[in-house]
């Protein structure tokens, strides 16, 4: 800061241009506020540049590539010779997708009067924010601020990433080659998604998970379907196993692991991916100068409107306690913007859907059976298998099931979970049903189009009521 500096005055400063930050900035622009959006890298954040979009592009590519092996069964004869995958070409394509989306966000910001500043922001006080813009230092004075700086992968010191052998998810998605062997530390959703994608592309993948099972955040019977597929893809899954040490030598990484079952063992791979957690980006923001409080884990507690302990400073997305999901960040961002503009908005729904792009996909909303029982509900639940759905068989996707969880007394829907093809899209029906406080009859009595995968909801709902058509109903 220099003496006599002139601060640029604006209504709102949004720090961070990820899916939460840019949504907030655009909404503020729509509502007539003057907004400065500060982003130190590129608009779109982790989601667009290093997370959701690139990883789903890779997962899609891997899925298409993998399908080639199954086309024979469908009567499609490929020309002789084996299909190959050229990762540099994929990188080019991925970059074009990301660039197109970046451009779109940039355009939308401009169209809504959002001033985008590239630089690193720090709070100087509760209403002044300094931005280092590559040599220059600018100061912004604002009436309100939104912190949307997101999170980054957590890498423990003994697994220091080097960008070449020990990688984080960002490094992994920037590779130009498919590693011959790949060890993944962490069997959560990122580890399993990327692990399965690389397995489909030809890597020998070993998953090392410290918990008793992969995808420990989902219900066990859902993750079981993924485990089955992982084995069919030739992946090695080590559960209840901890990595103690990592050594790079001769172009390989050797991980020393321990487990009760196998004792100490070594796993050697060409590359190691570390996906064991994320930490919020709150450390370098100067929150103390702004008087914004954090919890002991570095997250910023917020109200349902996104407000921090400083009423005029808001925080959204991964820097707030809760699941690190782009759709949650976007919702929080829009709500914070609207509250700043005087609208009575609130993030008041407990229904945050989740989507995991494994093989098969898992998605869900609301409570699992165990959670509902823990909450004191008497639960009624039923599943309907994909293999009993005509469309699923017609597209050769017979693995998985849909599950509907209901309060036995009122028949209100408590949770809807699905594992199988296109689960990520199918969960939309579940989110809407729960938000509308639907009863299981509402789903069962709704005509679903045939032949579609969406019929799995219809039949699962009917199964709860004891009268599904395409399976034998269990006695009531």
């Amino acid at each position: 800061m220099v003496v006599g500096e002139v601060a640029v005055e604006t209504d709102v400063v949004v720090i961070g241009g990820g899916p939460g930050g840019y949504a907030a900035a655009i909404r503020l622009g729509q509502l007539g506020k003057s907004v400065v959006l500060i982003e130190k890298e590129v608009l779109g954040g982790v989601c667009l540049n290093r997370g959701c979009i690139p990883s789903k592009a890779l997962i899609h590519t891997a899925g298409e590539y993998h399908k080639l092996n199954r086309l024979n069964k469908l009567g499609i004869q490929l020309p002789t010779g084996k299909a190959t995958f050229h990762m540099p070409s994929w990188q080019t394509w991925k970059s074009s997708v990301v660039a197109q989306l970046n451009k779109g966000i940039d355009y939308l910001c401009q169209a809504n009067g959002v001033t985008v500043v590239k630089g690193t922001a720090t709070f100087l006080s509760s209403d002044r924010i300094g931005v280092e813009t590559g040599g220059d230092f600018e100061t912004y004075k604002c009436k309100q601020a939104i912190i949307a700086t997101g999170s980054r992968p957590f890498i423990p010191s003994f697994l220091k990433t080097d960008g070449e052998y020990i990688l984080d998810s960002t490094d992994m998605l920037a590779l130009d080659d498919v590693p011959e062997t790949l060890a993944i530390i962490g069997g959560g959703y990122i580890g399993m998604e990327l692990g399965m994608a690389f397995a489909k592309l030809g890597s020998q993948v070993t998953i090392i998970e410290a918990s008793e099972r992969i995808l420990p955040q989902t219900a066990a019977h859902l993750s079981q379907e993924v485990l089955k597929q992982a084995k069919q893809l030739g992946m090695t899954v080590k559960i209840a196993t901890k990595v103690e040490k990592a050594e790079v030598a001769n172009g390989r990484v050797t991980l020393v692991c321990t487990s009760e079952k196998n004792g100490s063992e070594s796993i050697t791979a060409h590359k190691t991916l570390v996906t064991i957690g994320r930490v919020p980006n709150t450390g370098e923001l100067g929150l103390a100068q702004a008087g914004v409080e954090m919890d002991e884990r570095g997250y910023i507690p917020v109200t349902s409107t996104g407000s921090t302990n400083k009423a005029h400073i808001y925080a959204i997305g991964d820097v707030t306690p809760g699941p690190a999901l782009a759709h949650r960040a976007a919702k929080q961002g829009i709500v914070a913007a609207e509250v700043i503009a005087g609208l009575p908005s609130s993030v008041d729904s407990p229904f945050v859907p989740y989507v995991i792009f494994t093989e098969p996909q898992i998605a869900g909303v609301g409570m699992t059976r165990d959670e509902a029982e823990l909450q004191g509900y008497k639960v009624k639940a039923a599943t309907f298998p994909y293999r009993a759905n005509g469309r699923a068989l017609a597209i050769d996707e017979g693995e998985g099931f849909a599950e509907v969880i209901v309060d036995q007394e009122s028949h209100l829907l408590l949770g809807m979970h699905i594992v199988g093809a296109d689960a990520s899209n199918l969960i939309g029906e579940g989110v809407l049903a729960l938000e509308l406080a639907a009863r299981v009859e509402d789903v069962a009595l709704t005509m679903h189009p045939h032949p579609t995968l969406s019929e799995v909801w219809l039949e699962a709902a009917e199964a709860v009521l004891g009268h599904a058509i395409h399976i034998v109903n269990k006695s009531k």
């Binding site: 957590f154 423990p156 962490g186 069997g187 959560g188 959703y189 918990s211 995808l215 420990p216 955040q217 989902t218 064991i276 957690g277 994320r278 930490v279 919020p280 709150t282 450390g283 370098e284 103390a288 008087g291 914004v292 409080e293 954090m294 919890d295 002991e296 884990r297 570095g298 507690p301 302990n309 809760g322 699941p323 690190a324 999901l325 609207e338 503009a341 005087g342 609208l343 009575p344 908005s345 609130s346 729904s349 407990p350 945050v352 869900g364 909303v365 609301g366 409570m367 959670e371 823990l374 909450q375 004191g376 509900y377 009122s410 028949h411 949770g415 938000e435 509308l436 406080a437 009863r439």
Partner: protein, 434 residues
């Protein structure tokens, strides 16, 4: 988490008005620490924390009328949470696989059922949807439920409506209509909520709530059920005045403020024993007359909040001085708003003493389910004829309203005659004492 609900602090009360909220969200409270002041059926009550903890949510605002059983606030009875200001960058790992719940458990599974649109509408209308009773399928809160809830609130909330100084109805209607089109919040749902106040004003609309509302309801009930008849008589007070003057120094020695009321109560109780139908009630459900062999006399008392009737229990067992002492205590408690349900219930007959203020006669409304009420009026010197001569006497009118279902006019007049006899010659009071 402990949900603190509005308890039934009275005898079968249905609702109460939140007079004061003494705590704020995030505040630590000790068990038994006062949280709220609630005004119910003629009683102000202080509600205390059932547990030690932190106030997590407050669902009500001052002035709001809430039903018994409504959750007023939530107390986190767990350990106190300390929010520390950042001192250094925390690098603690958070493994999403362990800590992130993709399906956040519904911490409040009693969350009211409503669509996102209705929730948004509730926010725009500044209503707490959790307080609205849903009439939709499975108890869903509908748009209509919100509107009806808002209407009920509006009726009980203060609102100033502008009008001209003449206050004629046409102007009032026109200005009210103008207000109804004035939005107060920007709307996401396109449904603007309406302004409750305006900057111009001439007529002030006050809510009919709290004690006043209860009085209103009670009065309507009384006159609706009871066929009232009022008879008026006049009493000569000279002897009673003389007696009071004689006794006053004795009372003062004992720090007792001796008014006329204890004498009236004494005379009343004697008369009630002789005319049992006046110390009775009618059970409308069973068509039975309940003759009460106890004498709990209500004294209508003027307070800043309105008319309250504390009750002197077993008045027939108390001396003039004891009655005087108790009247003084109850009047003080009433004025300070400290009466409890115990103080104001169980009366068998009511005396309304408007004498100190003035007025010649009235048609007092019976305190249902009692069957009669006496109103005492201004004491003044009047010309009266005694033994064919005009003389000046201290006179006072007495109005008796009685329930004509149970009491005939003749009985009523005989009853007042007896009171008159006892008060005009107070020696008789002593003769009748038990």
């Amino acid at each position: 988490m402990v949900e603190f609900k509005l308890p039934d602090v009275g005898e079968g009360m249905h609702e109460g008005e939140i007079v004061k909220v003494l705590v704020r969200t995030g505040e630590s409270v000790q068990q038994d620490q006062p949280l709220l002041e609630v005004q119910t059926d003629k009683v102000n009550a202080e509600l205390s924390a059932p547990v030690t903890g932190i106030i997590r949510d407050i669902f009500i605002a001052e002035g709001e009328i809430v039903e018994v059983g409504t959750t007023l606030l939530v107390i986190d009875a767990g350990t106190e949470v300390e929010v520390k200001t950042e001192t250094k960058h925390p690098e603690k790992v958070v493994n999403p696989d362990k800590t992130v719940h993709f399906t956040p458990a519904r911490a409040d599974h009693r969350r009211s059922l409503a669509t996102p649109y209705v929730r948004q509408l509730a926010r725009e209308m500044k209503l707490d949807i959790e307080l609205v009773t849903g009439t939709g399928a499975a108890g869903r809160v509908t748009e209509e439920d919100l509107r009806q809830f808002a209407n009920r609130l509006q009726k009980s909330a203060p609102a100033k409506f502008p009008t001209s100084a003449t206050g004629n109805e046409r102007l009032l209607e026109a200005s009210t209509a103008a207000i109804e089109t004035e939005p107060i919040v920007q709307s996401k749902t396109g449904t603007a909520t309406r302004a409750a106040t305006s900057s111009q004003g001439g007529i002030e609309r006050l809510p009919l709530k709290g004690i006043r509302k209860k009085i209103a309801e009670h009065m309507v009930k009384s006159v609706t059920i009871i066929p009232h008849v009022t008879s008026v008589d006049e009493l000569e007070m000279d002897q009673l005045r003389a007696l009071r003057e004689t006794l006053r120094p004795h009372a003062e020695k004992r720090n007792i403020k001796l008014t006329f009321l204890p004498f009236f109560i004494k005379a009343l109780v004697i008369a009630l024993k002789e005319f049992p139908t006046l110390n009775a009630s009618i059970d409308e459900r069973t068509n039975e007359i309940l003759l009460k062999r106890f004498y709990h006399i209500g004294i209508a008392t003027d307070t800043p909040e309105g008319l309250i009737v504390p009750v002197i229990k077993d008045a027939d067992h108390k001396s003039i001085f004891q009655l005087a002492e108790e009247i003084d205590q109850l009047a003080r408690l009433a004025r300070e708003g400290k009466l409890t349900m115990e103080h104001i219930t169980g009366g068998t007959f009511t005396i309304s003493n408007v004498g100190p203020i003035g007025g010649l006669q009235a048609t007092p409304i019976i305190n249902h389910p009692e069957v009669a009420i006496i109103s005492l009026h201004k004491m003044e010197k009047r010309w009266v004829v005694r033994e064919d001569e005009g003389v000046i006497r201290w006179m006072m009118n007495l109005s008796l309203s009685f329930d004509h279902r149970l009491i005939d006019g003749v009985t009523a007049v005989r009853f007042t005659n007896r009171i008159k006899e006892l008060l005009e010659d107070p020696n008789l009071l002593f003769a009748e004492m038990v």
